[in-house]
Each structure stands twice: as structure tokens, then as C-alpha cells.
Subunit: 259 residues, 2 copies
DNA sequence: CGGGGATTTGACACATATCAAGAGCGGTGG
DNA sequence: CCACCGCTCTTGATATGTGTCAAATCCCCG
């Protein structure tokens, strides 16, 4: 794959093309510059001035990824940061015993790959649970740009800091809460995340299996299933397979110890 | 023991002097420049060339801290990075319900405070479990220096990346392992950390209570106590209150699922 | 030397894991 | 289009690990 200068060619015309024909646009490299991306407010360059064109130099290529496909695997060399434009993913670590621990469920607007900095290799694997598209940001290039753009650098630091805090929350969740609280926390976090992306906070579809949820929450899949059934029986939610509808939001929230 | 040598020739009197200019203050305040600090290899400036004097501009002041004293509390404004020179600490989050979740046990050579970047406020509290000394690095100044020193910047990124990976490990630990494995993992991690600082890997003193350990591992203090007793009964360790001696290192390691 | 906190240990309760069976959904190929 | 097959999900019975409550001892600190 040739990584050449193609970024500046981005135009509104191309964007329209992207909307109509996904594959065509993909071939044409970057149909949408970061500065005109609809995810601009949540994505990496958030906080940069519109006039700061350094953000548009970041993304060299995009990649479409299909369900079940890996974006990268643990051990792969760390070359890119990945900014998700669409789709739904899971990141996980697996132990030699074959056990896997799901560590996150990234989706559109999230940025991934910062785990690889220390060792120059990815330490987690990332797989798509739903077809999506991801912006690939060459990290070496990113660093160079960041040196000229303190705002971008600071944004990156905020992102890493946020990731550390997110994991602190998960640690607290795994460490101290019982099954019902864990699942309630999970559902509410998902609801909030969907809401932040413009989707419904009250009704959404899970893209992961009960086993994935269980792994993430430190529970067995049967326990997750049972808790969801119990939530349904007490009229907190309506659950049918992957479809979730939150019926009693305050009731759910009352199960969460607190932030 | 390298640590013994590194310890403070710093006098409280010196601390009275305060910052005038960067270089002046650095020279006046810091009895030991970063470039000559014995923790140089593990601390923040690790990776910088000896000839790179930017590292010596970082530390404005030191602070001695006594057992039970807080370095900072959740909610405090984020102004400094803290590089520990000696002592033993714990970081924790507490929920409104009064529960607390211990998130780490930092010690000499560790750097703390990166959690505050995102919100400009610290999100965890840090308290000393043992008297110690800490280098205070003004973060705003650090950023300025880092912009001129790509090596320092990269080092910072590595540190944040490592913290993220460390938390991934803890998540895996909390999520999937049973009590014996958790405690074994904890003891081995501690042993390794002590060894890395020049202390014995086979015999050391815990600085934290059973409750602290339990909180960190997602267990109750009684469970921690029972597991330690069981380890002693099976001749894996000798435990007497805070004193721990590892008798059968390989036996202990066999209890840890992962690599 | 006294007292409060830390630790250990026991008995018991309970939440979650484990084992097992069956049903439902979705993809695939005839 | 239908039938099949595999995977996911649900639900039940049981096992077990860990939490809870309680009491005694020990240690450290003032």
C-alpha cells in the first residue's frame, strides 16, 4: 500500500461520493478531511482550531473492516493510531491458557492503539463486531505533527489520561461490585455512549455476545444472561437477544453504587 | 542496596529557598540533579542522553512526606507530576458510599499524576504508607521542555502507555482469577518490583494492610489473610504479619495462570 | 503500660460458577 | 425456499468460593 500525499485532495465532492458509494470512496483514499469529518468533535483532533490545518495532515489512509476481521493482533508491530469512523469493536488480551479478557468495546469516535507505544508492539487484539471504517494515523508522523502543534499534543495526552481513568473505573467495577451492579453499569455506560453518538439512549442493539459481556465484567455468560432476565422480570428493561430497551432508567441507575 | 545510597542529602533548609528562575532554582533546590540521580534509569528522564541537560530543568522542588500524609487528594488541581525517590505509597479512588478502591502501590522510581491531565484535577488520592521523598515536576513546565526534547516526550508517552498496560493486567486479574491466583500474582509482582529496586526478591515487608491488598485485588481482607495462611501451610511462603518470605518461588508462580 | 487497630480463625450464608439440557436464531447449501 | 447445522442464549440443579459476622489474639504506638 502506497502511502503518498493524498490528503489535501479531500473535497466536499468526494464526501458526497462517499455517502452514495462507500466502496468507491474508499478506493479514493480520504474522502473526508478531519476538519470536515462529522466525528470531529469527539475524535482525536478535537480541540484544535478549524484554522489549524495540521489535523488534516494526520490521516493517510482509511480501512474498511468487516465483522470478525481483526484490525490488529497482540504482538503486531505498532505503527498506527486508529480512529474509528463507524462500526463496533472489542479489544481483548488472551492468556496462554486460552482464556481471553475483553478490555473495551470501542466504537465510532474512539481512538485506539495507544497501548502500543511502550513496546512498539500492540499488547491487545482488536476485532470488529460489526462492519466499520477506521482512519489510520501513522504514529511516527503523528508525533512529528504533534511537536509543531501543542494543542494536538495536549489532546493526545488528554486521551491517554482518559483511558487511564476509564480503566480505573473498570477496576473499581470489577473489584467491588456484584453482578447486578456490574451489568447495570455496563448497560448505562453503553446507553450513554450511544446517546453521545446521536443514537437512542433507551433502545439499542448489543453487538457483543453474552460471553464478551461476561469477560468484560468478570462474570460468566450464564450469570449475565440471568441478570438480564431478572432485570426484565422486574421491569427494568426489555431484553430480547441482542436487543435492549431500557424501561426504567432511574431504577437501573439505583443499582449502580455511584460514579 | 542502591536505594540506601541514593537517599536524601536533601535538607529541609534547602526547601525554604524558592523558585526564581528555572536554572537557578533547579541548582539551588535539588541536591541531586536528575542526571546524577541513582534512580535515573527507572525514572522519568530515562532514555535521555546524559548530555541532554533538559532533564535537569524539570524538578523545581522536592517534598518529604510522612506516613499517613496525602501527597494529593482526588479533586485537587493538577499541577505537578510526582517522581518518587523513596517511600511507599498507595493510590485509591473512593466512592460516595465510603468504599475505596486501591488502584496502585507506587514506590521509588515510579512517576505519578498523569491521571490528572484530562480534567486538570486529580482523580485519585495518593497517600504515603511509609515516609518518603518525592520530586515535584511542574506539568506546564514539563510540557514546555518536552516540546524541545522529543526523547523526553517519548519517554512520557511510554510511561502513560505502560500505565495503561498495567491496568489491563489488573483488569485481567480482577476479571478472571480466583483468590489464590490473585494473591500469588500480587506477591510475585511485588517481589519483582523490589528486586528491580535492588531489594531482595525473596524476603520483604509489606507496607500495606490486608484491607489495602484486598481492595486492590477485589477481595475481602479475611480472604487475603486466609490465602496467606494457606500459602504458609503449603510451604510456599513464610508470612508473619507484614513480613513475607517466599520459600517456593516456582510453586507460587505455578498458581499464576499467565505467562 | 494501656488501648486501638490489625490479623487470624471459625461458622455460616449467599452469590456466582459449574455442569447440563434444550430452545431459538441465523447463516449455508441443497 | 426449505432444511440443516452451529452458535448463542436461556434456564435449572448443584457445587463451591468468597463474603459476612463474630471473637480472640497480637502488635504497634502513644
Amino acid at each position: 500500500m502506497a502511502i503518498a500525499a493524498m490528503v489535501q485532495n479531500a473535497s466536499p465532492v468526494r464526501k458526497a461520493l462517499y455517502v452514495r458509494s462507500v466502496r468507491e470512496a474508499t478506493v479514493a483514499q480520504c474522502p473526508t478531511a478531519c476538519s470536515s469529518c462529522t466525528l470531529h468533535s469527539t475524535c482525536l483532533p478535537c480541540g484544535l482550531q478549524q484554522t489549524d490545518d495540521s489535523m488534516d495532515e494526520l490521516v493517510y489512509s482509511r480501512r474498511r473492516i468487516h465483522r470478525g476481521e481483526h484490525l490488529y493482533r497482540a504482538g503486531d508491530p505498532f505503527k498506527f493510531l486508529y480512529a474509528f469512523r463507524s462500526g463496533f469493536f472489542k479489544t481483548y488480551i488472551d492468556t496462554p491458557e486460552g482464556q481471553t479478557q475483553v478490555t473495551a468495546f470501542p466504537m465510532a469516535g474512539d481512538v485506539l492503539g495507544l497501548d502500543g507505544i511502550e513496546t512498539d508492539k500492540h499488547r491487545v487484539s482488536t476485532v470488529a463486531l460489526e462492519d466499520g471504517e477506521v482512519c489510520m494515523i501513522p504514529f511516527a508522523h503523528f508525533q512529528a505533527v504533534a511537536l509543531r502543534s501543542p494543542a494536538l499534543l495536549h489532546q493526545m495526552h488528554r486521551m491517554m489520561s482518559r483511558e487511564i481513568m476509564r480503566e480505573h473505573s473498570v477496576m473499581a467495577l470489577l473489584g467491588g461490585m456484584r453482578a447486578e451492579s456490574r451489568v447495570a453499569t455496563f448497560l448505562l455506560a453503553l446507553s450513554e455512549k450511544f446517546a453521545g453518538r446521536g443514537y437512542s439512549a433507551m433502545q439499542f442493539n448489543l453487538r457483543m455476545t453474552r460471553e464478551d459481556i461476561g469477560s468484560y465484567l468478570g462474570l460468566k455468560l450464564e450469570t449475565v444472561s440471568r441478570v438480564l432476565s431478572r432485570f426484565q422480570a422486574t421491569n427494568l428493561i426489555k431484553a430480547n437477544l441482542r436487543s435492549i430497551e431500557i424501561v426504567d432508567m432511574t431504577g437501573l441507575k439505583s443499582l449502580v453504587p455511584e460514579l
